[in-house]
């Protein structure tokens, strides 16, 4: 007798049906093959609205396997509402083990941060992207931006950086700093702080980006050159904090600014798992890049 397994579960493994997952994976392969190129994809319906992390969720659900250990962070925090809800959803749909520990996870979904701890070859980082088009701020029409990418016509982007320097004396982009991937495409790294941008360069990990509302996927494969846009005489810089983490005294991490009741300010490490590990005296393996190395310990 043929056993009907299909209807024993109310949902398919990882929620999305297999043929749609296959479609997403094929588009991801294309994205990996052309680093920084935005690949259109189906962006199927999810139980959350588009623009609330659906792009990242599509990628996660399309590539997750039963053996994966899943971690999700929202602006560095494992405990924010967005992270908690998506973690519960993925856990319910896959039965996968979830974790807060960056080194234990095999698949990490993130909103607007890269972990402070360096990621390995066997891990994948999935970004949730609100606006995949780096040129949108200088060109509003999609048919024009596609043409600009096709012809590598990035003068307008450069002029906007020049204008920023002229008006403000520096390139004023706090997050989503435009990068050039593999010497070809200009890419939006999603709204990660400038602090994280150098960690995209020549990384050991596969970085996948999903923009659900805009229906685009893109990728930075491991060991790919990723350069922030900078002029020969006006350079890219990461954030400078004139203080250290008040809980740990640690300096080489992206810090959150806290306003206290008396109006004074304190700083604390943004990456919650990293903070926990330092506080508990655990072993840490932070990202090292030339920008971070300039910060005195």
């Amino acid at each position: 007798m043929i056993e009907n397994t299909k209807y024993k579960r109310s949902y398919n493994f990882a929620f999305i049906d297999e043929s749609t997952k296959k479609e997403v994976r094929r588009k991801l392969l294309k994205a990996v093959a052309i680093p920084g190129y935005q690949v259109p994809y189906s962006s199927p319906e999810m139980p959350i609205s588009r623009g609330w992390g659906t792009g990242g969720l599509h990628v996660t659900l399309a590539i997750i396997g039963r053996e994966d250990v899943f971690k999700i962070i929202d602006q560095g925090s494992d405990a924010s509402v967005n992270a908690c809800n998506l973690r519960e959803f993925v856990q319910a749909m896959t039965g996968c083990k979830t974790t807060y520990d960056t080194t234990e996870a095999t698949l990490i979904q993130t909103r607007h941060r890269i972990t402070e701890e360096e990621l390995r070859e066997d891990q994948i980082l999935v970004f949730q992207v609100p606006q995949p088009e780096p040129l949108r701020s200088v060109e509003r029409y999609e048919y024009r931006t596609r043409q600009m990418h096709g012809e590598a016509d990035y003068a307008k982007m450069w002029v906007s950086l020049y204008e920023s320097y002229v008006r403000h004396g520096g390139i004023m982009r706090g997050a989503d700093y435009p990068v050039k991937v593999n010497g070809r495409y200009i890419m939006a790294p999603s709204p990660i702080p400038r602090w994280d941008v150098p960690n995209l360069n020549q990384a050991k990990t596969l970085y996948l980006f999903g923009a659900g509302r805009e229906k685009r996927l893109y990728a930075v494969p491991p060991h790919t050159k990723v350069e922030p846009l900078e002029f020969e005489d006006v350079k890219f810089e990461i954030e400078k904090f004139d203080s250290l983490c008040y809980k740990t005294g640690y300096r080489r991490a992206f810090l959150d600014e806290l306003y206290l009741d008396d109006g004074s300010r304190q700083y604390v490490i943004n990456d919650s798992n990293f903070l926990d590990k330092i506080e508990q005296g655990g072993e840490i393996t932070p990202f090292i890049n030339p920008y971070i190395q300039q910060i005195e310990l």
């Binding site: 450069w158 020049y162 204008e163």
Partner: protein, 280 residues
Amino acid sequence: MSEHNWLLRVRNLTKIYGEPNERTLALTGPEWNSNICPDTDSIVACAGVSFDLYPGEVLGIVGESGSGKSTIVKLLYFDMEKTAGSAWLRPYNDGRANMLEASGQQKRYIRNHLMGTVYQNPRDGLNFRFSSGGNIAEKLIMAGSLHVGSIRERASFLLEKTEVPVRRMDDTPAAFSGGMQQRVQIAKAIANNPPLLFLDEVTTGLDVSVQAKVLDLIRELQQELGIAMIVVSHDLSVIRMLTDRTLVMKHGRVVESGLTDQILQDPQHAYTQLLVSSLL
């Protein structure tokens, strides 16, 4: 100037809107006093335009509104797609490849390195959300310069050359007078030392004293830098002041061509005679 050292060679340049049939070209033109095909209602913006332009030469194109003079410049600057015809530019592939058939990327290279254009309306040539220095920077960046210091140096040199106060380099052109906007456009157009410059009705809409200054500037730049120019105007005094040779256009066709002085002194075609006699 010998037959063979042309800078720009244009043959049979044609732009038709709508769907023409084989009789369209025969049924339009000055002799029919119309550029609308009676069979198909297609509009012949320009047809069969051929000329050579030599290095350092200034060619005028004159004619009434709708005669197709701006169309020629827009086709050559790739603002529009031609219907038929060819154009060769000496510095592009040594003049062996038809630049109108080039790929988008090559066309952009030609536009940025080998040509400049000044439009009648500064809003067409300048981005009003960028500063005037930024507008010039755009051209320089497109030619591969990524050094803010040298970009600013070159931009202030160009603005000085075109008599725009350098301290206003970081203001947007929206804050400038019409004459100044036109000067910024000229500075942008010549930013990469192109051998060829298109001037499309540059003085129309400016008051007379400003017109004279802009024309002076163009003539100075022409003499100093030896740029070849195509000057489009309906104003014969502009043509007389700037150009060596002139094409007279009507209903999309060239009706007369020759030395500017000759055309103004001794016009042959009835339309040119009318044009010259209506000069105040």
